[in-house]
């Protein structure tokens, strides 16, 4: 049966009619093949306008409808609804955008009218080939997986759980809290981070809806929005937290010693070590990577920790196991790494013990840190302290072109702490731009300057030793003079970098990375926590550098995005998906290699490509890749597109 097409041209008040001769377009449309009727009206989207269409469908037996009006984004759902009411499949509608693509951007009436005719002709040519489609929904597993037990992960998990859904919080390490656990005080409010963090961790641990999996790693993710299947590899808790009294005998007995990364390398620890105080339970944990017994079954003459433990709390024989989780949404909160200052050798980190990073400073300043909160190097109080900004940020030589967003305030806070503890200390900060942009930040910057912190504009070029002093050399760009400032403590304001394992996380979940190497959000302005993968969201510094407050806001934002499918219990899936003509499919797999959403697989049995319509976004990349056009996207088939082109030529 030949299609019977109705064409409806909208004036959009004067928006279209002022520039396009709608009468002429109607006249033209009537003469196009398969067009049964063509009408124009002031407002097609209005009730009477829609009435014209529904009446014609009934009276004239239209099979397809073309509406020439605004962008389909605006009113496609309106008109789909209208024709559905009249008994047509809603997908038998084609829109010609003669407003945004024509009347709004052209001035010449004759040319605009000609273009409107072309657009209508093209839409009519396509319309005849449109096929009915069905809208589909799939159910949602009402649970979420949060990857990463740092601040972002904790907050996101809490929101999900508080909304009444199961949250699985998977943390790679032995304790919760992430980077925040290492920090001393907040800026600009100068509160103890551990107080804030302990509170949060406690509510996580107490929450009936949250399942915390520490020492665990996501191994594999299958499925799609609403229906993910996740394999998590769990390392066993080799120390029984119920028995461990944190007496420390085990650590004393352990022959392995390594730098303590929690203290940013300022101290060393053993393969069995106490968890940081912010984690709720005072207990010891075993570092599987470091423990020679776990790794290679070697510990002479036998695992001593096991032997010395008075409570028999240690069991090194436990095996790793894999757990399968079913979740509806995934929040990635894997955090960021700190910049390795060895990338800036001229600053002398690793050469001079009194050149430390801002993270090391945090540990020094922490009462639970290696010095019990005394900011001292080799037991000596610093009298001259220099802070160096932008170490590993805004720097082509390190490859990190971006600003790390927090270092200016971290340095300001640390400078304040120095002044607080040692009012006589001479504190200088070298900077190029002071970026104190957050709420209360500029005010804090004002405050520390008034406390006597001297800001000197100029990046530091070199740090070297002269006698028993460290010399910091820079140009004072406000005086245009090179300067040398002596110091007995130099603090490098190190930036945030993407974690080295970002690629693995990305490929695990099918995410992409942005130019700076962090995980990419789906739109930098309006979709800052969504990703290209439906049902997977980003929280915190895995997406880019952030301070605590921005991290928390973003974590809650990610929770908000994840809550939509969980609350609804159903997700709508794309109707116009791709489909395979099995007669033509040679099973070469070019399309599957191109598909960004993992929607295509090669069936071993039939040796043809199979489409998973839930994953398919209808983007058409497969169609472009297939040499024989055996895979096509509904509503964008070659027939439809070629017809459109032919109508224009």
């Amino acid at each position: 049966m030949r299609p019977r097409i109705g064409v409806y041209i909208c004036h959009c008040g004067l928006n279209i009619a002022n520039t396009v001769d709608v009468d002429a377009v109607g006249e033209f449309a009537r003469a196009l093949p398969n067009v049964i009727v063509a009408r124009h009206y002031t407002y097609m989207c209005s009730d009477p306008g829609q009435g014209l269409i529904t009446k014609d469908i009934g009276d004239l037996g239209l099979t397809h409808v073309v509406v020439a009006s605004c962008s389909p984004r605006m009113h496609e759902p309106t008109f789909r609804g209208a024709i559905q009411k009249a008994g047509l499949n809603p997908y038998c509608l084609e829109m010609a955008n003669i407003r945004e693509q024509c009347s709004w951007i052209h001035a010449d009436r004759a040319l605009a009218t000609a273009k409107a005719m072309d657009l209508v002709a093209s839409a009519v040519a396509k319309a005849g080939w449109l096929v009915p489609l069905q809208e589909r929904q799939v159910g949602v597993t009402q649970a979420a997986l949060i990857i990463g037990g740092g601040l972002a992960g904790l907050q996101a998990a809490l929101d999900i759980a508080n909304a009444g859904f199961q949250a699985f919080l998977v943390e790679k390490g032995a304790y919760l809290g992430g980077r925040a656990a290492q920090l001393n005080t907040t800026f600009p409010t100068l509160e103890r981070v551990s107080d804030l963090l302990t509170c949060l961790i406690q509510s996580i641990n107490d929450h009936p809806n949250i399942r915390v999996l520490t020492n665990a790693q996501v191994e594999k993710v299958d499925g799609f929005v609403g229906n993910f299947r996740v394999s998590v590899l769990e390392r066993p808790p080799r120390v029984d937290a119920g028995k461990c009294t944190a007496c420390g005998k085990c650590a004393d007995a352990c022959p392995v010693s390594l730098p303590d990364e929690f203290n940013a390398g300022l101290s060393s620890r053993h393969a069995i070590y106490p968890l940081p105080p912010s984690s709720e339970t005072r207990t010891f944990a075993i570092d599987d990577q470091a423990c020679t017994f776990v790794q290679d079954r070697i510990c002479q003459p036998e695992p001593r920790c096991v032997a010395v433990c008075p409570e028999n709390a240690i069991d090194l024989s436990l095996e790793e196991r894999t757990r399968e989780l079913a979740v509806g949404a995934i929040i990635v909160a894997t955090g960021a790494a700190t910049f390795d200052p060895r990338g800036k050798p001229e600053l002398g980190w690793g050469v001079y013990p009194n050149v430390i990073t801002s993270l090391q400073f945090e540990r020094l300043a922490d009462v639970n840190g290696p010095t019990g909160g005394r900011i001292e190097i080799d037991g000596k109080e610093p009298k001259e302290v220099v802070f160096i900004q932008c170490v590993g940020s805004r720097d082509q030589t390190t490859g990190n072109l971006y600003c790390s967003r927090i270092c200016c305030m971290v340095s300001a806070k640390q400078a304040h702490l120095i002044k607080e503890k040692y009012p006589d200390a001479r504190v200088t900060a070298f900077y190029a731009d002071v970026r104190t942009f957050g709420k209360g930040h500029e005010e804090f910057y004002d405050r520390v300057r008034k406390e006597g912190i001297r800001y000197r504009r100029g990046y530091v070029s070199e740090v070297y030793r002269r006698g028993d002093k460290i010399v910091v050399r820079a140009e004072d760009t406000l005086m245009q003079k090179p300067v040398e400032v002596t110091a007995d403590l130099v603090v490098l304001g190190i930036g945030q970098s993407p974690r080295p394992e970002t690629n693995e996380v990305a490929s695990l979940l099918g995410l992409t990375r942005s130019g700076d190497g962090f995980l990419a959000e789906s739109h930098p302005k309006l979709r800052p926590v969504d990703t290209m993968v439906d049902g997977v969201f980003l929280a915190g510094t895995c997406q880019g550098p952030k301070d605590i407050v921005d991290t928390l806001a973003q974590a809650r934002a990610a929770a908000s995005s994840a809550l939509a499918p969980l609350c609804r219990g159903q997700v709508k899936v794309e109707s116009a998906t791709s489909y395979v003509n099995e007669e033509l499919c040679a099973g070469c797999g070019l399309c599957a290699a191109t598909c960004a959403y993992g929607a295509l697989t090669l069936s071993e049995r039939t040796r043809r490509i199979k489409v998973n319509p839930v994953l398919c976004k209808g983007c058409g990349a497969c169609e472009a890749a297939c040499p024989s056009k055996a895979i096509q996207v509904m509503q964008s088939t070659p027939k439809q597109i070629l017809s459109q082109i032919a109508a224009l030529s």
Partner: protein
């Protein structure tokens, strides 16, 4: 060598973010080595500072634009005054300054004229002494009292106040320098002496309300004499009020175009912009036009901060010359002002630029008096 740390603390220089808004706004910085921002920075660097060869410190007109524009509340002008103070303390007082300072101590005025000549300006006017009892004390200012070019101003004020039937008197021979410029020259010891002495005299005379002819005097009384115990106004404020109340009525017309130079001590530093303009606009026939750079955006005439007596390092064209040119651009025939320093610098500039026939510099007092 100067103790920069002390200065940093004294003047709160740590608030500075080195944005340069002070130097950019400084009216003399383009022609002088004076750079308030760099001065502050040298203090902050704390590597010591030598006053020797820092002649440009004397270029500051203390117009205070630097401090008023500062987004962080730093008053660079106060630092400059402080540095001048250290300079003076070191005893190396610039020669041109010695005479005015000594005269102020001895004769109560920096013009090196006898104390007993202070009332010559009021010859024949029969102005009573405020000690005899008066509602308002009129403070004349050394410049107005001694300099014949500006002596007509206080006379005009006397006339106007009488027309408005205001009960007023002066301190007569008891009046001496207010100390405003002395303070700004850095001679804080002399300033403090003058302040205390004046306050004693004011108390003895029982002064409750004061009107000044110079904005500089008004500013120092209002903002720097701690615990003065009397209210002070500039004459433009008083006149504007008297006119508004109908107590002063003008009978003559002045068919001319008038523009107005905002004195820094009246405008920028004390926010008095509208009253002088109100006075001028109330005079029949006057067509008032503002210069492009007026009110908050006005430019210093370069008369303040002791610049009346000093040459400093910049002998280039005075700022007043620019102001005269800008006044001419407006088509004005009269360049009004309300400050003796402005009057003098602008008058000199009119002569120096050869515009005696095109533009007349007048104090608002003169204009108002002529229109009575």
């Amino acid at each position: 060598m100067i103790d920069t740390e002390a200065l940093v603390e004294q003047f709160g220089l740590t608030a500075c973010i080195q944005c340069g808004k002070c130097t950019g706004g400084c009216p003399v910085s383009p022609k002088s080595a004076l750079n308030p921002r760099a001065l502050v920075y040298q203090m902050l660097r704390g590597e010591g500072f030598e006053l020797v060869s820092r002649e440009e410190l004397w270029d500051c007109t203390t117009c205070s634009t630097c401090g008023l524009r500062c987004p962080k509340g730093v008053k660079a002008v106060d630092l400059i005054i402080g540095l001048r103070g250290q300079w003076i303390e070191s005893g190396k007082i610039p020669t041109t300054l010695r005479a005015p300072l000594t005269a102020t101590l001895n004769q109560g005025n920096p013009l090196v004229l006898p104390r007993e000549d202070r009332s010559l300006w009021a010859d024949g006017l029969n102005v009573k002494n405020v000690a005899e009892g008066a509602d308002v004390a009129m403070f004349v200012c050394c410049e107005n009292a001694y300099d014949p070019r500006v002596q007509p101003m206080p006379r005009a004020l006397v006339n106007l106040l009488r027309a408005a039937q205001v009960d007023f008197g002066t301190l007569g021979l008891e009046e001496q320098c207010c100390g405003s410029e002395i303070r700004r020259l850095g001679e804080s010891g002399l300033y403090e002496y003058l302040r205390d002495d004046n306050l004693d005299k004011f108390r003895q005379a029982g002064i409750q309300k004061m009107v000044t002819t110079s904005p500089h005097c008004m500013n120092v009384f209002k903002n720097e004499y701690a615990g003065a115990g009397f209210t002070v106004e500039h004459y433009t404020q008083m006149l504007a009020r008297l006119i508004a109340e109908g107590k002063i009525k003008f009978s003559k017309r002045m068919e001319t175009v008038v523009t107005y130079q905002d004195p820094c001590f009246l405008g920028k530093q004390n926010g008095i912009y509208d009253e002088p303009r109100a006075v001028l606009k109330s005079i029949p026939g006057v067509k008032f036009v503002d210069m492009d750079r007026s009110r908050e955006r006005s430019v210093c005439c370069e008369g303040g901060g002791g610049r009346m007596w000093l040459e400093g390092t910049n002998n280039k064209v005075r700022l007043a010359n620019d102001r005269v040119a800008q006044a001419l651009e407006t088509g004005a025939k009269v360049l009004a002002t309300a400050c003796p320093f402005c009057f003098l610098t602008l008058s000199d500039a009119v002569i120096a630029t050869g515009h005696e026939n095109d533009l007349r510099v007048m104090d608002i007092l003169q204009i108002a008096n002529e229109a009575l």
